[in-house]
Subunit: 221 residues, 2 copies
DNA sequence: TGACAATAGATAAAATATTATCGATAATAG
DNA sequence: CTATTATCGATAATATTTTATCTATTGTCA
């Protein structure tokens, strides 16, 4: 038995896996049995070789001229991402964004289940949003421990972010999905993943303005 | 004059620039005049050398033992990202997420100004959300052309995404900020930047579950 | 059946991105 | 005034990620 545990998986690979999962599920719904790297690549505008490389890390085998078994592939990706277990999560901050996230049922297909919301605004506390109850943030520690929750979605206003995040860590949360634009300063043994809208917009702005400038130049000529 | 236009800027660099801008603005508010790569790096948990490399592409110069002039740095980053011009944008789909985005004032510091919303739901059409009027999507083409809009924020339900995106392109929009989980199939001369929540969650899930497993192993021993 | 084409998977190469090294420079302390 | 130290910026080295090449396998079609 070779040491599979040593294989280091690159972040770009991890980020592509959900896309593969999406495509693979689509073909599974079509009652197909297998799918080839070529097809996945075509669906996503990638190279087949890259898809194969990525799938390699999952530890499953395909068959030449046929492809990968859909069921195996789905299971492998979900297991790799821990999306086969139900990951229960709290959401902290039920303002506009928080409520939008609570209303987004798509998370459940990623194995993420929001089971409670927290806020300090009395307006929301005690109410239900999409069937999920909202508690005062004072209850966070107690409920986190009692329900053995590990993941928290941070959707509070920018100003409160650092403090609330520290509170989450104290409560025992180890994975923070950070929807604020704040660079949280937390211990190393806490995982923070930031949804960086500014970064995304930067890429869009830069590319779009370049494109428009180029078009303007072409028109001049 | 060497050809500066040929310098190809990497995507990771572009994505880090907004973070630098955030830090730099913070120090600007503190009435500082200059900032060093060391300080920026420390604020963001990066390496100073990387910050310097990134700033290099902006074409500005720093001073040894002093750093970069804050004003220059801010101007350079904003100009590079085209965030110094007001980029007016439409938002298509004013459901939960769309409204959350319309309510998020942070975009304005990224030079993005949402000036109208579009939807098909009569419930919203004609109403104002955060002072921004909502129109029927049939008006998109006309208004896009009349107001010379280039950027559209796509926040419609998954099922409608491809069709609405095609409609946006027809209307003359060249940059689509895609908040749906759909891989849009569009001409090459359209810029699509997807906010990929699944990818982000994949990284968080993977890292968190690895951390928890490791802790479990340590407890056993 | 036998030639052919599509595909996985292994290995190698190329391209990208990050990190290190080092000389030059300028602020600061003594 | 000089020694020291922080910092930039140029170049080089390393690491990471993507892409290419090649071989073996397997289904398809003549």
């Amino acid at each position: 038995m070779k040491d599979k545990t040593v294989i280091k998986v690159s972040m770009p690979t991890i980020r592509r896996l959900p896309q593969y999962l999406q495509v693979v599920k689509k073909y599974h719904n079509k009652r197909d049995e297998t799918i080839s790297s070529t097809v996945i690549a075509a669906e996503l505008g990638l190279e087949a070789i890259q898809v194969r490389k990525d799938i390699e890390v999952l530890g499953i085998k395909g068959q030449p001229r046929v492809g990968y078994k859909l069921i195996e592939l789905i299971a492998a990706i979900e297991s790799f991402l821990n999306w086969d277990n139900d990951n229960e999560a709290f959401i902290i901050g039920v303002g506009h964004l928080g409520r939008a996230l609570m209303g987004y049922r798509g998370f459940e297909s990623y194995g993420l289940k929001i089971i409670a919301g927290f806020d300090i605004d009395p307006l929301w506390i005690g109410s239900q949003i999409n069937g999920v109850e909202v508690f005062h943030i004072d209850k966070l520690g107690e409920l986190t421990r009692r329900m053995n929750i590990h993941i928290g979605v941070l959707a509070v206003p920018q100003k409160a972010a650092q403090k609330v995040a520290e509170c989450m860590v104290e409560s025992g949360i180890v994975g923070i999905w950070n929807f604020t634009p704040v660079n949280l300063n937390l211990p190393d043994n806490v995982i923070v993943e930031r949804v960086d809208l500014a970064a995304s917009l930067a890429v869009l702005s830069r590319k779009t303005s370049k494109l428009l400038k180029q078009r303007a130049i072409e028109l001049e000529q």
